[in-house]
């Protein structure tokens, strides 16, 4: 019997949202020094890409770790419906008191998708722009890549 392999399914989703990096824990001057342009009071937006990786056994009858329709529905309900064409600061309760940096967006998306019933959530990778991306894998410091 051949050696067991670890399989993950990855899927990319998109949402567009605005945010402002600003915290009441800092003075106005400190906010603008730390966050620069991102602290503009009226906010600004990005086209975000969310990469979701799940793992599990491949069901021999379907060839799938999880049915894509189930994953798509879950991600839409848990994340995209709440984030797409919204202001992250104003419309997503988690960011009322937490700065919506993409680090924190990653963590929030992981938290919202962790309960996916059909497979194990391995990690979330978010591209804020094509030039920067962030990953979060819960308690796994190296991204849980086995």
């Amino acid at each position: 019997m051949s050696m067991p392999l670890k399989l993950e399914l990855g899927r990319r989703y998109r949402f567009s949202a605005s945010h402002r990096l600003h915290t009441t824990h800092l003075t106005e001057e400190e906010n603008s020094r730390v966050f620069g342009k991102c602290s503009n009071p009226y906010g600004h937006g990005h086209n975000y890409v969310v990469e979701v990786s799940v793992s599990g056994d491949v069901d021999p009858s379907t060839g799938m770790i999880a049915n894509l329709a189930d994953l798509d529905t879950f991600v839409a309900r848990q994340v995209l419906d709440d984030f797409d064409h919204k202001s992250l600061n104003e419309d997503v309760p988690a960011f009322r008191d937490t700065v919506p940096t993409t680090e924190n967006v990653c963590i929030e998306i992981f938290r919202r998708l962790k309960s996916f019933p059909k497979a194990k959530l391995e990690r979330i990778r978010v591209e804020e722009t094509a030039k920067n991306s962030f990953e979060y894998a819960g308690d796994h410091p190296e991204g849980n890549r086995l």
Binding site: S2, M3, P4, L5, K6, L7, E8, L9, G10, R11, R12, Y13, S53, V58, P60, S61, T62, G63, M64, I65, N67, L68, A69, S133, E135, H140, E142, G143, N144, R145, L146
Partner: protein, 143 residues
């Protein structure tokens, strides 16, 4: 340890159908992918090999050698083929990204003798992919 990745693209057709399911179940579970005449994708395969660079050549393995392995094992087998009917390694399996990635791993792993196969990522489209790793292998960041 250094990771070295080579990317190739191949185009193939497939369809999802399980003979043990009713026509209605096949449609419900596989959706559009159950179209009896099949459909196709441009697949992108990323193959990552891990190893220490040779002190003389500075290489983990010669990329030319990896290119030849990928040509022989992947391109000749799958490029411009129907994955359900023309690839014996996939016979009896639903040719999903997950299953194709496993088959590719098992084809490539024994052929890569310099360095060690570390990661196979197969994209069916830019938004859908499967990752295959050796179970229990030490974690090492990629990307």
């Amino acid at each position: 340890m250094v990771l070295i990745t080579r990317k190739i693209e191949f185009s193939a057709s497939h369809l999802y159908h399980n003979l043990n399911f009713s026509a209605e179940e096949n449609r419900r579970i596989f959706g559009k992918c159950n179209n009896p005449h099949g459909h196709g994708h441009n697949y992108t395969l990323e193959v990552t090999v891990a190893g220490e660079p040779d002190p003389v050549t500075g290489m983990v393995l010669d990329l030319k050698e990896l290119k030849e392995i990928l040509e022989r094992e992947v391109m000749q087998r799958m490029d411009h083929r129907h994955l359900n009917y023309e690839v014996p390694e996939l016979a009896g399996q639903i040719p999903t990204c997950e299953n194709i990635a496993q088959v590719l791993w098992r084809l490539l792993d024994p052929k890569i003798t310099r360095g060690k196969l570390h990661h196979v990522r197969l994209y069916e489209s830019p938004d859908l992919f499967a990752d295959c790793y050796r179970n229990g292998a030490a974690a090492a960041g990629k990307q």
